[in-house]
């Protein structure tokens, strides 16, 4: 779903875009991108639906060691799992079209409740991770580009490789082991007292930092922030490493552009050349890549949330997968796919709108 960026100026045969069916090329491009989301989601839902049936059912997973085969078959029938798989599939598709993701088989929870409550937790973690990723990746990328091939650049390139190559759970574990002896919080979104207090906030957003601010006591805000540090760093480093390298490469390319040479020739100081003329243009590809990073963040969230007991949809996905809860896994995967598709679409739309080099 990411945009193909072609440099129109390099192509002498490029012709002005034509209107078709009364729609501008941009509108047509965006509509096609939007429409593509539906078949992508359908393929994914179908794949997950059938794959989950292959790996086993929740009743055998829970009771396989203590009930007879007949008793298990009875319970499967009771849960409707003995019906033809195609019937179940068509029924499920109908339900999700109506926005009904059903109830989990293993703990009788509304899947939409999981998506809303735990989804908010994942959103919060993604926010903090992006905060770390931008906070580290962009300024450090700039430093690396400015000191090209000198020791700061070498160190930062190495750091970037390690950051995105190291498995999130491994980084998480190291961070936990390093900080636990000093009493730093290593699990959960807040301490028990804070969670109990913030559960009383009305209306509840399930975004802990917002609830803490709404409650209005600094100690809870501090507690929530402390708990967010390790998971945000573990997940943020993954994306931060990518941003660092991306900013560095693009800044180096931009610094070789003609208009930058012209600026230098006019006597503009190097610091100003970088910050005012080159840096912003170098950020455009970062925006493009952000669409892909959403998918990467959500994938990383599954591991990060499990490592740090951050009860988001990634954590729940891992838990329900272990218990073979079809409905929960299908619902969560569908929503994650939807988020990734929409994020990619939004990024494509933004890039198409702001970057004249994009061809439709």
């Amino acid at each position: 779903m990411t945009t193909d960026v072609l440099v129109a100026a390099d192509s002498p045969a490029a012709e002005p875009p034509q209107r078709r069916g009364g729609l501008s090329p941009l509108a047509r491009y965006l509509l096609i991108r939007l429409a593509l989301i539906v078949p992508m989601l359908w393929v994914l839902v179908t794949l997950v639906f059938f794959l989950m049936r292959v790996i086993g059912d929740p009743i055998t997973a829970a009771q396989g060691g203590r009930l007879t085969a007949e008793q298990i078959a009875e319970r499967k029938a009771e849960a409707g799992l003995d019906r033809p798989i195609l019937t179940q599939y068509v029924e499920y598709l109908g339900d999700i079209v109506r926005g009904d993701f059903g109830r989990t088989l293993t703990d009788n929870r509304e899947v939409t409740d999981i998506l809303l409550v735990n989804g908010a937790a994942t959103l919060e973690l993604s926010f903090w991770a992006l905060f770390v990723a931008f906070g580290l990746g962009i300024p450090l990328g700039r430093v690396a580009a400015r000191h090209r091939d000198r020791w700061p650049d070498v160190v930062l390139r190495l750091f970037a490789i390690v950051a995105y190559a190291a498995p999130v759970f491994f980084v998480g574990l190291l961070l936990k082991l390093a900080t636990a002896p000093f009493g730093w919080p290593t699990a959960g979104r807040a301490s028990t007292a804070t969670e109990l207090t913030l559960a009383k906030v009305d209306p509840q957003t399930n975004i802990m930092i917002v609830d803490a601010i709404l409650w209005g006591e600094p100690r809870y805000v501090v507690d929530v922030l402390q708990h967010a540090v390790l998971p945000a760093v573990a997940l943020g480093l993954l994306t931060g490493g990518v941003f660092l390298r991306l900013v560095r490469v693009n800044l180096l390319q931009t610094l070789r552009a003609d208009y930058v040479t012209a600026a230098r020739a006019k006597g503009v100081p190097e610091r100003k050349v970088v910050s005012k003329h080159a840096f912003r243009n170098a950020l455009v590809p970062v925006v493009t890549v952000m669409g892909m990073q959403v998918a990467m963040l959500l994938a990383g969230a599954v591991l990060t949330e499990t490592t740090f007991e951050w009860k988001g949809i990634g954590y729940e996905l891992a838990q329900y997968l272990i218990r073979r809860d079809f409905l929960a896994v299908q619902g969560i995967v569908t929503v994650i796919a939807f988020i990734v598709c929409v994020a990619s679409f939004v990024i494509d739309a933004v890039v198409a709108l702001v970057d004249p080099r994009v061809r439709f």
Partner: protein, 526 residues
Amino acid sequence: MTLLRRRMTVLASAALAGSVLAACGAGQSDDDGDSLIVGTTDKVVSIDPAGAYDNGSMAVQTQVYQYLLNFPPGSTELTPDAAEECDFESPTVYVCTIKSGLKFANGNDLTASDVAFSFQRIVDINDPNGPASLLGAMKKVEARDDTTVAFTLAAPNDQTFPQVLVTSAGPIVDEETYPADEVLDDDAAVEANGFSGPYTIGEYKKNELAEFKINPDYDGTYGEPKSDVTLRYYADSNNLKLDVEKGDIDVAHRSLTPTDIESLEKSDDVTVHTGPGGELRYIVFNLKTMPGDDDEQKQAVRQAAAYLLDREEISTEVYKGTYTPAYSIVPEGQVGATEAFKDKYGAKPDPDAARKVLQDAGVSTPVELNLQWNPDHYGNSSDQEYQAVKRQLEEGGLFSVKLQSTEWNTYSEERVNDAYPAYQLGWFPDFPDPDNYLTPFFAPNNFLQSHYEDDRMTKLLDSERTDADQASREATLAKIQEMVAEQVPVLPLLTGAQVAVAGNDVDGVSETLDPSFKFRFSTLSK
């Protein structure tokens, strides 16, 4: 651009200042109190008893519901809880009289009608995750008046039925707030407040946090609770261990790894409490597909395996003492438990006896045994456990063991389809009665489906189940255990101790680690 940047800076500063001001504002009051925090890796399936039959749900139900009968802390004797008394009125009718004046926390009266409703709806709903199978012995339940409830049983003098009243099938729910035909959602159950146990639930986030508040009107077996308790759920035992070690939680109960427990035992800040366990780890032999040309040879192979095992070594080396040797199918601490396997095969490996039993039956050695184990259902140490079993069986050259592992769902399906000649299983009892370790395993059409069936055993089981005389029942139980040791249809390996780790300032942990397997928060205080 400079102007824009300035504006942005002003806006950002204003937003930040606003947040800080809001954060530093007057604040709403909260009520931290001095409650205890208990951590667990168990999960709740449902607070509603009709929808759950698992440890995590039972841990919550134990705190908030009353039962007709219950076990007081530290006791294995059934004591009236919501009931005043219970007894057999006739061989097939078991009658309980309810205490008068009992109320649910929402103000509704708790009557015999609520009790009958609670049991009947479990059977009617028959939820796939529910405990309906535990009520197979109950034909009918009816409230005769406000204080009398009568159970009509399928078999006369069923001595296990009173024990069933204490299981996941036993919590009493409020007829006015629980639906008769479907499981009540957890949030709705908390909202309904139809609890009459020692605690009610305050804040509740499923499988994240549950706040238990003392129920001042509780009148039952557990006595007056000492402290409010918050239960915090973990996915990873490592996080549970770190938090109890740091003092972020007061008690860690279920389930820490043997390595974690060993490490916590060295800590000065926490105490490791252990209690008798009911969990059993054992090897099942498929009597049809296991090695051996005939029944005699097959029995000799099983007996030889029994002679060669060193349970003590597995207990100390693999499980660091968190599991102890099981020398009978009925674990130590249960009524009527013996050490039948130790009596017959000894506590230490006896290769000479193993060789003799194989030679006498004409079994050629080494016996090639495919032994199946499961990596994802019985804990991370299963791998080491079965490596040790293989090594012990192969010492002396009598066995050549091929270990194979399979993912749990496939394992569960294949084991009952004669795919494994010998395989690992574990058992957690439904109720603390020796019959729960016998009838499910050795009665006809048992869940093992290993082709074991013996008329003598069936008669003995029928006899112990319906024998009201304790001494005579224990004698029958001893005979059954002897027979299991002789025939070895299953080979008991280890029994799991109950372990809880608590801060040194926490009292009452050991009191609740008893054979009832009920972790009662009401005994805890600091």
